[in-house]
């Protein structure tokens, strides 16, 4: 890992700390209130706030996880830096697409 990847990984980690806390709080709130899927979707659909919150979360998680996977591959697999980097970029894009698809599913009206 070089300093550029280090800054991105630590930066996205710092960004996700409050996002994870809010996300966990939301899970507790929704389950303790006994909210149904329809109740939740009623609040999230059309909400720019929830779209922004989870949109940022997904982007940060995709970057953070891709860099982490790259590190694991360079240390634990026979892949060299370049190949591990390509694999990590593809992994990050897949994570991003899956995450954004999930976000759009709950926020688009």
């Amino acid at each position: 890992m070089n300093v550029r990847l280090y800054v991105w990984q630590r930066g996205t980690a710092a960004l996700m700390v409050p996002l994870v806390l809010v996300h966990v709080a939301v899970i507790f709130y929704a389950t303790r209130k006994g909210m149904s899927a329809a109740d939740i979707l009623g609040r999230t659909r059309g909400s720019i706030a929830w779209a922004s919150f989870y949109g940022v979360f997904v982007v940060a998680a995709a970057i953070h996880a891709a860099i982490g996977v790259r590190n694991i591959l360079t240390e634990w697999s026979p892949l060299d830096d370049r190949r591990a980097g390509i694999f990590a970029i593809v992994f990050g894009i897949v994570l991003l697409l899956l995450g954004l698809r999930a976000v759009t599913a709950v926020v688009l009206p």
Binding site: M1, N2, V3, L5, Y6, V7, R10, E75, D81
Partner: protein, 239 residues
């Protein structure tokens, strides 16, 4: 009857094997004494490396019962569990022969980490006054007692996994120079240690700190380099 130690010594190169010797047990005896006894009394072809015998030169480090140690300052009574010793060359380095590891990769990484002092003045300039208790000088002093023994390098998991990793000793040397107010080579040095295989590869396992015979803390030095390189990167001083 004289009490003896059962000593297994690595013989051969990378494809060698451990060979067992019986060595007289003394009341006061270092691991280096044991190796020397075998070389002088049993097999003169045994290869190993030492120089000062007082913990200053850093040349006698070996793997003793699975842990990297400076053998001239390691007493047998402290490490010979059940009267047995297994002594091999340092790990994470190529084996030349028997107990002598090839230190070239270790010292080449010192060069890669720009571990050479870069003067900022000529002999015509006045000598710069450095306060011994200043924070930068204190940080440089903490790291400067390294004797280049390679124990931290042999103990490091990251070196084991990533052959490009510069290792704790080279990075500690870089940290010492980064804090040296007289040095003028910090941009190049920070660039070198911020590259792939540099300080950011460290997982902070702290094996270097645990095993360092000089009780230095390379993990803290590397953490300092992480902070310093990140600040330089964010300011655009390095890429």
């Amino acid at each position: 009857m004289t009490a003896t130690l059962e000593v297994s010594l690595w013989r051969g190169g990378a494809e060698g094997r451990y060979q067992v010797y019986e060595v007289p047990l003394r009341e006061n005896q270092t691991v280096l004494d044991v190796v020397t006894w075998v070389q002088r009394n049993v097999d003169a072809t045994l290869s190993y490396r030492f120089a000062c015998r007082v913990g200053m030169c850093g040349s006698c480090a070996m793997t003793v019962n699975g842990r990297p140690r400076w053998t001239c300052r390691t007493h047998v009574s402290k490490v010979a569990a059940g009267g047995r010793l297994q002594i091999g060359p340092l790990e994470n380095l190529p084996v030349i022969k028997d107990l002598a590891a090839d230190m070239r990769p270790f010292f080449e990484k010192w060069q890669q980490a720009k571990g050479v002092f870069a003067p900022s003045k000529t002999r015509a300039d006045a000598i710069e006054e450095i306060r011994p208790d200043g924070p930068a000088r204190t940080a440089a002093d903490d790291a400067i007692e390294c004797i280049n023994c390679g124990v931290c390098y042999a103990a490091c998991d990251t070196v084991r996994w990533n052959s490009d990793y510069l290792g704790p000793a080279a990075l500690t040397r870089a940290w010492s120079l980064v804090n040296d107010q007289r040095d003028a080579g910090n941009t190049a040095r920070l660039q070198a240690v911020a590259a792939s295989g540099g300080c950011h590869a460290c997982h902070s396992h702290q094996s270097c700190q645990e095993h360092c015979p000089q009780a230095l803390n390379p993990t803290a030095a590397i953490a300092g380099l992480k902070r310093r390189t990140m600040a330089a990167y964010l300011k655009g001083e390095i890429t």
